[in-house]
């Protein structure tokens, strides 16, 4: 328990310090139009970006409409997908194959592409067997960089519209997200990871004989370069099947700790940026404390149930043990549990077998996937948070009989419709998807527990796909045509549906005048608002998903009593 307390304290202090710096950086560098007086760093980056803008034909000063903003992002994403489709389909012809010769079938390629471009990174394939080194270590990072940059742009645009009243330019945002945030940070992170023991080489494999004289092949590659964008971009795609549990992807306790930091850093920074742009740090402190409170609660609860161990196994062995099933020795129980609770909020990497966690841990993960606003996936989590603020303000406005407003801007019919689309899209896709799957592919096992667990797996798979998270209960045999196509569809619609409504929401709030604060205004930067916000966020998730969470992990727990 002591370990957990120190772990969380260290994590938070490092995280808040780093994300404050990054949040301030984003606030100065992503204003539109550019600041009148530029810092040295801005001038430096401007010089780097100048040739890129000229090559692309982007005018960084040109502001576009919200609709154009969305379609620019959408079509550039689609174009990248088309290029990568051919690269993956013809991977056997292209060079740098490593030891793999595998013709990918089209449903699997569609699933891979859909999951990568939507920042979901659900893994149905086995990277070591299905992907050549070129596909795995060049095409995957490329898609991860681009989807993450699009995510940051999608997060920043509504935030900028609401706070600064400007929509901005999509290409500038994407290019800036890559050149100013993702590439420099990933470069440093990759080197840190190599220093901690991660391999990073072009050599595809090493063959050797073990002490007992058995021939073995080690697969190496640019793993640290891959790992950096996987974590900073909150993608969670694995380059080796075991994801962050593989010793090459996560060599030590320290690297595990740093991975948790790196996963959470950008979403935290974006909320701090909100404070800078509103010129009201109290607002971001209130939101951050609510979100961090939920996060710490989840860390603690997950760790407690895992330390307590599996009572059926402990009874059988007649000793008290923590739940070691599917956890790596070097991370220990605390390192694995905290990582699991963190990734179910933001990314899809895993450093332990999620399947073997206590049902309460899985129920918490399902809650996070359904809520999506507890830091959430790159950029999108921020907009879901803003959406919950809007929702809460609307609710409070109705209760008090006032015109509802968010950060001084009136909320009208249009905003409420777009906000509802954001809230309802996810449940619609998940619940229909689960129902359809259970009709088409019912479970035939005779054991009651297996029956319920099958349902949990199906529910989790759809929830993580729709939330752009990508973690999964890997016991589900999911590399087949049905799962690949259905999830490719769910991920695509969930991502671009949400993206469209977020950007339109930003666009419709951008032009509104800011009302002066009066004594009658309900302030959104108070502790009271924090409580209502927390309450609304939890209640709205529970109202939608409660029956489904009760049917899955909770009933797993109940039938054991």
């Amino acid at each position: 328990m002591f370990e957990l307390i120190i772990f969380i304290t260290l994590l938070l202090s490092i995280l808040i310090a780093l994300s404050y710096l990054l949040g301030k950086f984003i606030a100065t560098h992503f204003t539109f139009p550019d600041n009148a007086t530029k810092t040295k760093l801005e001038v430096f980056f401007d010089k780097i970006e100048q040739p890129i803008y000229r090559f692309c034909g982007v005018d960084p000063k040109k502001e576009v409409s919200a609709k154009e903003y969305f379609f620019s992002l959408f079509w550039s994403n689609i174009f990248l997908v088309i290029v990568c489709f051919f690269a993956l389909y013809f991977q056997n012809i292209l060079p740098y194959k490593g030891n793999v010769r595998w013709q990918l079938d089209i449903p699997l390629i569609l699933h891979i592409l859909s999951s990568l471009i939507t920042n979901t990174c659900q893994t149905h394939h086995i990277p070591e067997q299905h992907l050549t080194h070129l596909s795995n270590y060049f095409i995957m990072p490329l898609l991860m960089f681009y989807s993450s940059a699009s995510g940051i742009a999608t997060g920043i645009m509504p935030m900028r519209s609401i706070t600064l009243g400007k929509i901005g330019n999509p290409y500038t945002d994407v290019i800036k997200a890559m050149t100013r945030i993702l590439f420099p940070i990933c470069f440093l992170v990759a080197l840190i990871f190599v220093a901690l023991g991660m391999p990073n080489t072009f050599n595809p494999s090493v063959t050797y004989h073990t002490l007992e004289n058995i021939k073995q092949t080690i697969i190496t590659g640019p793993i640290a370069a891959f790992e950096a964008i996987k974590l900073i971009g909150e993608n969670g795609q694995s380059c080796l099947n075991a994801n962050s549990a593989h010793p090459f992807e996560n060599p030590s306790y320290l690297s595990n700790f740093l991975e948790v930091v790196f996963i959470l850093i950008v979403p935290l920074a974006l909320i701090i940026t909100l404070g800078f742009w509103l010129k009201n740090h109290k607002q971001s402190i209130v939101i951050l404390s609510v979100l961090l409170f939920v996060l710490i609660f989840e860390f603690t609860l997950t760790t407690i149930v895992e330390l307590k161990g599996n009572h059926r196994i402990n009874n059988f062995l007649g000793m008290h043990y923590s739940n070691w099933v599917g956890k790596e020795t070097r991370f220990g129980i605390v390192g694995s549990s905290v990582f699991e609770a963190a990734i179910s909020n933001v990314s899809g990497s895993a450093n332990s077998s999620l399947e073997s966690f206590h049902p309460i841990a899985i129920a918490l993960a399902l809650f996070n996937l359904s809520n999506q606003s507890i830091f959430g996936v790159q950029g999108f989590g921020l907009v879901f948070t803003i959406n919950f603020i809007l929702y809460t303000s609307f609710f409070i406005g109705l209760m008090l009989g006032k015109t509802p407003e968010i950060f001084g801007k009136r909320i009208k019919k249009n905003e409420v419709i777009l906000s509802s689309v954001l809230l309802l899209l996810n449940p619609l896709l998940v619940l229909f998807g689960v129902a359809l799957t259970l009709i088409l592919y019912p479970d035939h096992s005779t054991n009651f527990y297996d029956h319920i667990h099958y349902y949990t797996r199906v529910f989790y798979e759809f929830a993580s796909g729709a939330a752009s998270n990508g973690s999964g209960l890997e016991g589900l045999v999911d590399n087949n045509t049905y799962w690949n196509l259905s999830l490719a569809f769910v991920m695509f619609v969930a991502r671009y549906g949400a993206m469209a409504s977020m950007i339109m929401l930003g666009g419709s709030l951008a032009r509104k005048p800011v009302l002066p604060t009066t004594s009658a205004t309900f302030k959104t930067d108070t502790i009271l608002f924090g409580f209502v916000f927390l309450f609304m966020s939890i209640i709205s998730t529970i109202l939608t998903y409660f029956p489904f969470i009760i049917l899955s992990p909770v009933s797993e727990l109940l039938i054991q009593k």
Partner: protein, 186 residues
């Protein structure tokens, strides 16, 4: 058209990124960036980070693994928490361990799978529980082996974080040296 060009830029940037990180990491941390390989007599005998499947009773054993520590694949059986399979699996491993180790009870860590199936470590307790078997099959001094485990084990970080763990491959390499010495002197 602009979108297409932005995609091209991202392709170029990614290629530059991968190449520069690989070059720099090879320059700065050559051993790490090639997979932390361990050599004995100029021959590679494994990576410090990847476990191996030891079956000989004279060596320390790793945790059970779905793919038997095949180094080019990773993963585990994904047993659900309350499933019968998990309980049977652990019961089976438990009785096998007792049979091999003259009724020394194992740490739970040693009879469960890791997430990657390539876990290079076992807990300190897990290593100690295997000592009886090794003493029996190799006729080495028990104190000597325990001292060896203590020498090779890494303590909890700052006495606080993680577990007291032992890298099995490194431990077995030391053990092998010990065997070589005893056969030569004997």
């Amino acid at each position: 058209m602009t979108g297409i060009r932005v995609c091209l830029v991202s392709i170029i940037l990614t290629i530059i990124y991968v190449f520069t990180t690989v070059m720099l990491s090879n320059l700065l941390f050559h051993s790490n960036s090639n997979g932390s390989l361990i050599k004995a007599n100029d021959k590679i005998i494994g990576s410090k980070l990847l476990g191996q499947n030891f079956t000989n009773a004279k060596y320390f054993h790793n945790r059970p693994s779905l793919y038997k520590y095949k180094n080019d694949i990773s993963g585990n059986s994904n047993f659900p928490y309350y499933s019968k399979e998990l309980k049977d699996y652990i019961a089976n491993n438990y009785s096998e361990f007792l049979k091999l180790n003259h009724n020394t009870t194992p740490d739970l860590n040693l009879i469960t799978e890791s997430a990657s199936g390539l876990d290079p470590h076992i807990t300190f307790k897990g290593a100690i529980s295997q000592v009886n078997r090794i003493v029996n099959s190799s006729q080495l001094n028990k104190e000597k082996i325990i001292k060896l485990i203590q020498k090779k084990s890494s303590p909890r970080i700052l006495g606080l974080f993680g577990e007291k763990i032992v890298n099995v491959l490194e431990l077995n390499l030391e053990l092998k040296k010990l065997y070589a010495k005893t056969t030569r002197s004997g």
